[in-house]
Assembly symmetry: C2
Homo-oligomer: 417 residues x 2
């Protein structure tokens, strides 16, 4: 039985690195020449398999291996990187998909039981214009052109113009949604970008879904007062209220799961001889379960108000951003677990903190799942991003095993949205 050759995937990742990275990291930023070059390189590999390939209305690159059934199994990745990015983020997904298409080509002579498509999403990172998941959200149906139109990059170039240069009309990007007409399942492999598998000393994990996010700014308002002449019991210390809330935020998160982060603290007047009158902190809360995320937020609000009141200060919440959680499909999670067990003998289920294109597919109602492979240092979006070669190879084998199982699942008509 034909098998994938994961060493070839490693070699191709190294080749891509030589082509599109330097000692400061990878430069495949979406809508730039280096990104276009990486896609031509990818397309050459797909053409060798005699696949139908085209760019959709959002600039996503699709390669289709037509099967006996029109029902489609999608495998996704993204060639784009952040500036000075790592050598694996996004392109591992894509090149593992290429290797699986090669195996399917060998095994079925180019006509597998169900249709299999590889999609290279456009602009997953949002590194240039600050809008991540651009291509997959257009395809999924959640991109609103008017909300993105006026974005500019650091050189003042408009997003709309940068897309047009690459053959994409922002106002028509939503037409990409037609690509999903027959989609029955979506698979994605990705480096973890966090330390969970590293800490557990596990090569691979199955992703349960992507966290929902609640992002807010909390504005505590007390009163400035001289540090020497103001007795402690007379103070309305904005920082103290924020400080007292912070361990409680950790405790709340410990009770309900998920993660909560106070990312910045700004104090005013901010001089050594004055009680702090104004203290602004940002809070980012994430959870896989919508109800639990609501609980995290509600209890954090209650804590902020309790400590504010106790300290004689006020607190106001300003919403910065929010997105709901997207759970992956339970059947596919089971199949992914089996695939990982077969590949490396041990599996682990974990949520994804960062968003991924798979979240847009799950959001669009396509049964989806992801595999994570361990990240060394738990770090990505950086030139030091790395994964052990044997783990990369195991991840290709696991994604291939998952593809077999998912194809059978799709063929059996088991897709339950």
């Amino acid at each position: 039985m034909p098998k994938v050759d994961p060493k070839r995937t490693v070699a191709e990742l190294q080749e891509l690195r030589r082509l599109t990275a330097d000692e400061e990291g990878a430069w495949r930023v979406a809508w730039t020449d280096t990104w276009l070059e990486s896609r031509r390189w990818l397309r050459d590999k797909l053409d060798a398999l005699d696949l139908e390939t085209h760019l959709d209305a959002a600039g996503n690159l699709w390669a289709t291996m037509r099967g006996a059934s029109d029902r489609e199994l999608l495998i996704g990745g993204h060639m784009d990187s952040v500036p000075g990015g790592g050598w694996l983020d996004g392109c591992l997904n894509t090149l593992a998909g290429v290797e699986i298409l090669r195996r399917l080509h060998d095994e079925y002579g180019g006509r597998p039981p169900v249709t299999v498509r590889l999609v290279d999403w456009a602009d997953e990172e949002g590194a240039r214009f600050g809008r991540s998941l651009l291509g997959s959200s257009a395809c999924g149906g959640t991109l609103v052109p008017d909300e993105e139109r006026n974005r500019i990059d650091k050189d003042g170039i408009r997003l709309e113009d940068a897309l047009r240069r690459c053959g994409v009309e922002l106002d028509r990007a939503g037409e990409s949604h037609a690509e999903l007409a027959n989609a029955a399942a979506y698979l994605e492999l990705h480096i973890e970008q966090g330390p969970v598998l590293l800490d557990l000393d596990l090569p691979l994990g199955v992703v349960l879904g992507t966290f929902g996010v609640e992002r807010h700014r909390l504005e505590f308002r007390g009163q400035a007062a001289h540090s020497g002449s103001t007795p402690m019991d007379r103070r309305r210390d904005a920082f103290l209220a924020a400080a007292r809330m912070s361990p409680e935020i950790y405790a709340i998160t410990g009770r309900h799961g998920g993660v909560s982060t106070i990312g910045s603290c700004v104090t005013r007047p901010g001089i050594v001889t004055s009680v702090i009158a104004e203290c602004d902190v940002t809070l980012d809360q994430r959870h896989l379960e919508a109800n639990a995320l609501s609980t995290l937020l509600r209890e954090a609000k209650e804590a902020s108000e309790r400590f504010a009141e106790e300290g004689g200060v006020s607190v106001a919440w300003q919403e910065l951003w929010r997105i709901e959680p997207f759970a992956f499909h339970p059947d596919l999670i089971e199949l992914a677990d089996e695939a990982v067990l077969e590949a490396v003998g041990v599996s682990h289920r974990l949520p994804s903190g960062p968003l991924h294109d798979a979240a847009e597919m799950a959001r669009a109602g396509i049964p989806s799942v992801m595999l994570f492979v361990q990240s060394l240092h738990g770090i990505s979006h950086n030139k030091i991003e790395d994964t052990k070669i044997e783990h990369i190879e195991a991840s290709v084998v696991a994604l291939d095993a998952l593809t077999r199982k998912a194809m059978a699942w799709v063929a059996a008509g088991s897709a339950r949205p």
Copy 2:
């Protein structure tokens, strides 16, 4: 028996305000023309009493009423203000002293039992060059010219040049110390600049001494990590350690007295999607007792190290400034209490958070004490600084009563350093 006329003091304060303040506040910043003008105005009033007046080597203005005894009772104040300052800070002290000299002149025909001197200290505020208590520290013997020489104001003018323009050679300022040769006691009246008397609804208080100060920057160092992909138990959150320490700083201060203030908090990288890697806070601790101040500092250090260790982060302390506490003289505190009781029927003892020229006198071994008069709003160094007229008047009466008692105490040779 001749009495002071406190309404005259109020009228003179109002006159001074007309001369040296506008709707933005008072502009008697030391070493400026407006300050020199205010001193000429003061000197005219002293000359009317036929007193010996001169500037000493540090620019302090002395007016001496020679008495039967060479032993001297000093009454101090300062005509200088911060830019846009209040109408009472410093000049109330001076003008109350002038009124008392008038009473002594009437009562003793200009030759009281002990020598009485009014001193108008130069540059108490340090508003222009950032060096407060300049004149009194030169007189007390703690000014080190080389430490001050390179100070410049916001226009780039050197402190040394600004002083020279007013007839003061920085290197000879210490010769002012000779003025204290016969000093037996020092009295100073001042607005409280805090809310203690206001809260207690008391017009006047007796100051026990000036707080010692420990001023430090605490540098917590953890590790940046992605807010979505980093589990809570994997974090080394520099802000969390600082936050957990902060209520403990309040608790420590509650146990030992004094005041402690976290005046600023700076976080890095300070973005909503990252755990805080670096958190710097400033801490200002003050106490009237040197041992208790040491305890505040030691327990704060222990708390910072405990919370840092618990959070897997480091903490380093950088000293910014420190000064020891200066206690006022117990006999003079008793006499001041009696004077306040006579003036308004109720007294209260309190420490001074801000430093005052009296601290330099106490530090130089001159038995000293201060009276505080209530500040409306608890605020000074601001155009809204204010005190009820009847409280200003009572403060002049109380300082006069204290002068009587202190003169008797000096005459009796009771000065115990």
